[in-house]
């Protein structure tokens, strides 16, 4: 049962999920988790998907052995930008100058460093300063490359947030009603 819960959590998490997070979510002690993770690692040791301990967390990955097969799958077509990347980029575009903490507050979820470095590498986002608060976090903004790749002349071409919501016509009124009910 714990093993199954762990499998579900690990598959769904956007970032490698840490022992601490598992403990918080499942309210289980470290040693049971560690024992269970070791068992799972073994369970998947001979499979095409592996449970791997990466950086500070756990993640399912395809077994390195089958990389050639996976490569064939990926070379066939350009991937879509991931949802986390799109959301992060859109927040930077609309909220710039902004910090990672702000992005995380708006998304309600941690922004993985691979997303951030991905956006920096693509040249869509750049660091335009540091904030004078503890930790002196980076301030991010979009670049010229961003404008040109997304076919914009200037940031003015982005619709206002309220207009955007109208365009996608999110039933705000209904959501407000639900909000009040809760």
């Amino acid at each position: 049962m714990l093993a199954q819960q762990l499998e579900a959590l690990i598959l769904a998490s956007e970032t490698p999920i840490s022992l601490e997070k598992m403990r918080d979510i499942l309210a289980t002690d470290r040693s049971s988790l560690q024992f269970c993770l070791a068992e799972l690692e073994l369970f998947y040791a001979q499979r095409g998907i592996r449970l791997m301990h990466i950086a500070d967390g756990w993640q399912f990955r395809t077994a390195p052995k089958y990389a050639p097969v996976v490569a064939k799958l990926w070379q066939t077509r350009a991937p879509k930008l991931s949802r986390s990347m799109l959301e992060t980029l859109s927040i930077i575009a609309y909220q710039q100058p902004t910090t990672r903490a702000e992005i995380e507050a708006l998304r309600g979820i941690r922004v993985s460093s691979s997303v951030m470095s991905g956006l920096l590498e693509r040249g869509w986002v750049k660091v335009i300063g540091r904030k004078d608060v503890p930790g002196r976090p980076h301030i991010y903004g979009t670049s010229k490359q961003f404008l040109s790749d997304f076919g914009l002349n200037s940031l003015h071409d982005l619709p206002d947030a309220s207009q955007l919501v109208d365009m996608h016509d999110i039933p705000l009124k209904e959501m407000e009603k639900n909000d009040k009910k809760n």
Binding site: A12, A67, L81, S82, L106, V133, G151
Partner: protein
């Protein structure tokens, strides 16, 4: 709340039920409010349209849908419509159309009419309405079962990151503005009410100006006079000032007044004044 209303109506209506053969009395019952003084109003928002109201009345009172007591149902329906404090014409158009349909049907039942058609089948003026109600009810049930299906991001989740891709060379994902805008609309939608208002209020022009100023200050401090160029429009001035204040508030820039010249200098927080 709806149940309470219905119970009250039902109790009241049992009388008219028994008087079904005396239609003239039903019209008197239309004005229910005088008989049930403190009936709470039922919001139209609680319903998905006139068919929904009728179905709920029919099913909750266990009426026979193939032999609808039209007088009672019409009275109850009209009562719900009449008890709306504000009748939004735009929203209530369909509700009023249904009201007149019901009244028309009722009068047709009262008038002399052919009771069988050419092929000898019974003609019931209520038939179309019943068919409509049944069709709608089916979709209502279907939508409930649809809602029960395990749904992505609510009940089931898939892997949404693909770390292996970093090791495999593949074509870069293409930039797509529509996807980007849709992603931001999603973000806004998920936000709490307070945050949503905050984000919606901020205009793009202030944001853009904030960024412009920051990029400008990268190369060194500037005086306020430098930045508020006199040739600019008043609107541009306001935008620039708003941007400055926001940057200052967020402690991204410092604003210093030089004691000798009284010049106001702007500089990035992490830079020394030069």
């Amino acid at each position: 709340m709806l149940l309470k209303v219905l119970n009250k109506i039902t109790m009241q209506e049992n009388k008219s039920y028994m008087n079904k053969d005396m239609p003239s009395k039903d019209f008197a019952n239309l004005n229910l409010e005088t008989q049930i003084p403190d009936l709470p109003p039922v919001a139209l928002d609680a319903f998905e349209g006139p068919l929904d109201i009728l179905l709920q009345l029919i099913r909750k009172q266990k009426m026979d849908i193939f032999n609808i007591p039209l007088a009672t149902l019409t009275a109850q329906y009209l009562h719900i419509i009449a008890s709306q404090t504000i009748l939004d014409i735009d929203v209530s158009g369909e509700y009023l159309v249904m009201a007149s349909t019901l009244m028309q049907l009722k009068s047709r039942l009262l008038l002399p009419r052919p009771e069988i058609d050419d092929e000898g089948n019974a003609i019931d003026p209520r038939e179309t309405l019943v068919a409509q109600l049944l069709a709608y009810e089916q979709y209502r049930l279907i939508s409930e079962s649809l809602n029960k299906l395990p749904r992505m991001q609510r009940d089931v989740f898939k892997r949404c990151v693909f770390p292996e891709s970093e090791e495999i060379e593949r074509p870069l994902p293409e930039a797509n503005l529509d996807d980007l805008l849709a992603a931001f609309a999603h973000v806004i939608k998920r936000m709490k009410q307070a945050d949503r208002h905050r984000v919606m209020l901020e205009t793009m022009s202030v944001r853009e100006q904030m960024k412009f100023l920051l990029e400008h200050l990268q190369s060194g401090s500037r005086s306020l006079a430098d930045i508020l160029v006199p040739t600019h429009h008043r609107e541009a001035w306001v935008t620039t000032l708003l941007a400055l204040l926001e940057l200052w508030r967020q402690r991204i820039i410092q604003v210093i007044q030089e004691p000798e010249s009284n010049t106001i200098m702007l500089l990035l927080s992490n830079q020394e004044a030069c």
